[in-house]
């Protein structure tokens, strides 16, 4: 039997990858990075980096980067809320999660954006939970009915209660880490259990070019010490906050990611790190950061290749769109992005549901994108040899009347070889018209209603109580006496 070939695409040849990596080493050593966080600054200094205290600047020698790389695990294993299902983040395994973090949600009926509330966060977590091609949830919406100071812990609080999936999240304040970590540990039973079976990835964004703010650096340190994987979100904008050439942006991207990785390793050797990002092809006309631009996707695919070359798990924001509603643009940008990400073997692909430059979530889009993800997942499974011989024997009794529908061979393989969409329209015209001539977005809205009528994949009540206790304590510390009512 011939081994199935996993479809892959590589934008760069090895010489090009090496050149980018080498230039990024040079930048780190010669020009350094700005590290606002005092502890990280000292840790780096003690690990052998030259520093310039007046500018918070750290010059990282190549040996330190290489040592840190050798300490970083190539593969991470995440577990769902119940600690049962395992997800490998590494190699060419791909996992989709909804894009984050939106401040608005798209209202399907009025086609306008509005601020999100607790009930939107709950719906979002529940719909994500039901999406069979989306492995991880993300705390992808910011709630406007609680004070912003606790919006980081609050979205995790909701996500953990309403979805079983591992969660991609992150802090908005230095103090946010503790309650968030406490909640995750409460789900697992202890901090040690959490470190053994990670449930969440924490995103940390350097500020381009080459700056690590106090908050994001603290998140790296805290995550490293508690075994939480840090996902590094470098986000150069070509020609604005990074070089205008795609290759130049890749150099900066690599330097930013590597510096983040070094911070994690000096804080805790062996801590899990994901080589990720959200760079964009900056629109020189509009001053916007199109995530659906083909150049954005090219940068993403290429840095993922660089991450793989460095033997690291990878992440990218792909499969999202800059459209403001669920139209052709939303579908085409998301489709191209998801497929390219899958072919590039990006391990964590953040995108589904997201519109308008990463600022708006649409549940209907999430449901449509789930089908795109299904197609991408099918694509990378490739074409398998199922039989030996492939087909010759199927023709031995051939007559002019022959068909394949009733053959056992068909019955045996059709579900393995083909996927069956639920939202994508394959009706005949009359059938489609008979159902009310609905658009994909309308069909998705119908599907959401169905999902929300199903029971919640609820959390153990004693854990829920513990989560509420932690959340309330965090809220009280920040001047709030009660939380919005939660209606499942």
């Amino acid at each position: 039997m011939i081994k199935t070939q996993r479809p892959k695409y590589r934008l760069l040849n090895e010489a090009f990858v090496k050149k980018i990596v080498n230039e990024s080493y040079l930048i780190l050593e010669k020009y350094g990075v700005f590290v606002e966080n005092k502890e990280a600054f000292t840790l780096l200094k003690n690990a052998g980096a030259k520093t310039d205290e007046s500018e918070n600047r750290v010059f990282i020698p190549q040996e330190l980067v290489e040592k840190s790389l050798s300490e970083t695990p190539p593969v991470i294993e995440l577990y769902d809320r119940e600690g049962e299902q395992k997800f490998t983040v590494g190699n060419d395994e791909i996992h989709f999660d909804p894009g984050s973090a939106a401040v608005t949600v798209l209202d399907h009926e009025s086609k306008s954006q509005r601020r999100a509330k607790t009930e939107d966060l709950i719906r979002f977590a529940r719909v994500t939970d039901a999406m069979e091609n989306i492995d991880f949830q993300s705390t992808g919406i910011i709630s406007s009915d609680i004070p912003e100071i606790i919006s980081d812990s609050y979205r995790l609080y909701i996500g953990l209660q309403f979805s079983r999936k591992p969660v991609v999240t992150g802090t908005f304040r230095v103090e946010g880490f503790k309650p968030m970590h406490d909640m995750l540990a409460a789900v697992r039973g202890s901090a040690q259990n959490l470190a053994d079976k990670p449930l969440a990835i924490f995103d940390a964004c350097p500020s381009p070019p080459l700056k690590w703010s106090n908050l994001t650096t603290q998140s790296l340190i805290d995550s490293a010490r508690t075994g939480i994987p840090s996902e590094l979100i470098s986000m150069g904008m070509t020609g604005a906050t990074s070089p205008v050439t795609l290759a130049g942006t890749l150099v900066q991207h690599t330097a930013e990611n590597l510096s983040g990785l070094v911070i994690c390793q000096v804080a805790e050797p062996g801590s899990p790190v994901i080589f990720g990002g959200s760079p964009a092809s900056f629109d020189m006309r509009k001053g916007t950061t199109p995530m659906g631009a083909i150049e954005t996707m090219m940068i993403d695919s290429a840095y993922s290749q660089i991450g793989k070359y460095l033997n690291l798990p990878t992440h990218a924001y792909m499969g999202l769109s800059d459209s403001k509603l669920n139209d052709n643009q939303a579908g085409l940008e998301s489709g191209i992005g998801a497929v390219l990400a899958a072919l590039a073997g990006v391990n964590v692909i953040s995108g589904p549901g997201m519109l308008d430059f990463e600022s708006c979530q649409s549940l209907e889009k999430l449901v449509i994108d789930n089908e795109i993800c299904g197609m991408a997942l099918r694509l990378v499974k490739g074409i398998a040899q199922r039989d030996e011989p492939l087909a010759v024997d199927l023709f031995q009794d051939i007559t002019t009347e022959s068909q394949f529908l009733s053959k056992p061979h068909t019955r045996k393989w059709y579900r393995e070889e083909h996927i069956f969409p639920g939202i994508i329209d394959r009706d005949t015209y009359d059938e489609w018209a008979g159902k009310g001539k609905k658009s994909a977005a309308q069909r998705a809205a119908d599907k959401i209603k169905e999902i929300l009528e199903q029971p919640v994949s609820g959390i153990d009540t004693s854990i829920q109580k513990e989560l509420t206790k932690i959340m309330l304590a965090d809220a009280e510390k920040n001047g709030l006496t009660s939380l919005p009512e939660i209606k499942g």
Partner: protein, 216 residues
């Protein structure tokens, strides 16, 4: 009267974004004791206006526009101290305090707006990034500013734009300054909701709105 050709050279230097030429011309103007207000108004300002027109038409993109604005700034940085020496002030449309709000160290958008505002004749005080709400207000009071311009890139820090307006209200300062908000997660609806005076989706729009507000 200054030679028309010289004025058009100044104009062209700004349109083409040629800093060296612009500064040479500014030095020539100072050395030869020309009327500096005329130099600015009839030499350099029409250049930035032309660059703005080219942007509106779609011929100029951000790299051209920002280079023109920086060229304008480079010329002004030589001319303004001279005006001061002569106890003259450059005509200004108004004074703006600008910065990226606390918690956010992204300042590319804010820098664009600051450059374009200043190129369009506003006196701009740039507080940089990660600026505390209170320093926006304190600086605006000290400088007797007309505008407070607040930028944010992060969805998490945009909420602080609202806090700034709330703080203005609680200090009875609401309405004393025109507050302009901007940044990628922000839109006009948000500006309206929080009670800001204006929102601009890009730097050119910011200059336009500032000009229209100063007239009211």
């Amino acid at each position: 009267m200054i030679d028309k050709k010289i004025l058009s050279d100044m104009n062209r230097a700004v349109v083409e974004g040629n800093k060296d030429d612009a500064q040479k011309l500014a030095i020539q103007a100072i050395d030869e004791n020309w009327d500096l207000n005329e130099v600015i108004e009839n030499g350099f300002v029409p250049g930035i206006q032309k660059a703005g027109d080219l942007w509106e038409k779609g011929d100029y993109f951000l790299p051209e526009l920002i280079t023109s604005a920086e060229t304008m700034k480079a010329a002004m940085s030589l001319l303004q101290p001279e005006l001061k020496k002569k106890n003259l002030t450059a005509k200004t449309l108004g004074k703006a305090v600008i910065g990226t709000i606390e918690g956010d160290i992204h300042d590319i958008g804010k820098n664009l707006v600051a450059s374009i505002l200043s190129a369009n004749g506003f006196d701009v005080i740039d507080l940089g990034a990660d600026v505390k709400i209170t320093s926006f207000i304190e600086t605006a009071l000290e400088e007797k500013a007309d505008f407070i311009c607040v930028s944010t890139l992060l969805t998490t820090t945009m909420l602080k734009q609202k806090n700034l307006i709330e703080l203005l209200k609680s200090k009875n300062l609401y309405g004393k300054f025109k507050v302009l908000v901007g940044g990628s997660p922000v839109n006009s609806k948000w500006a309206q909701d929080i009670g800001a005076d204006g929102y601009a989706e890009n730097a050119m729009a910011a200059a336009k709105i500032a000009k229209s507000l100063i007239r009211t």
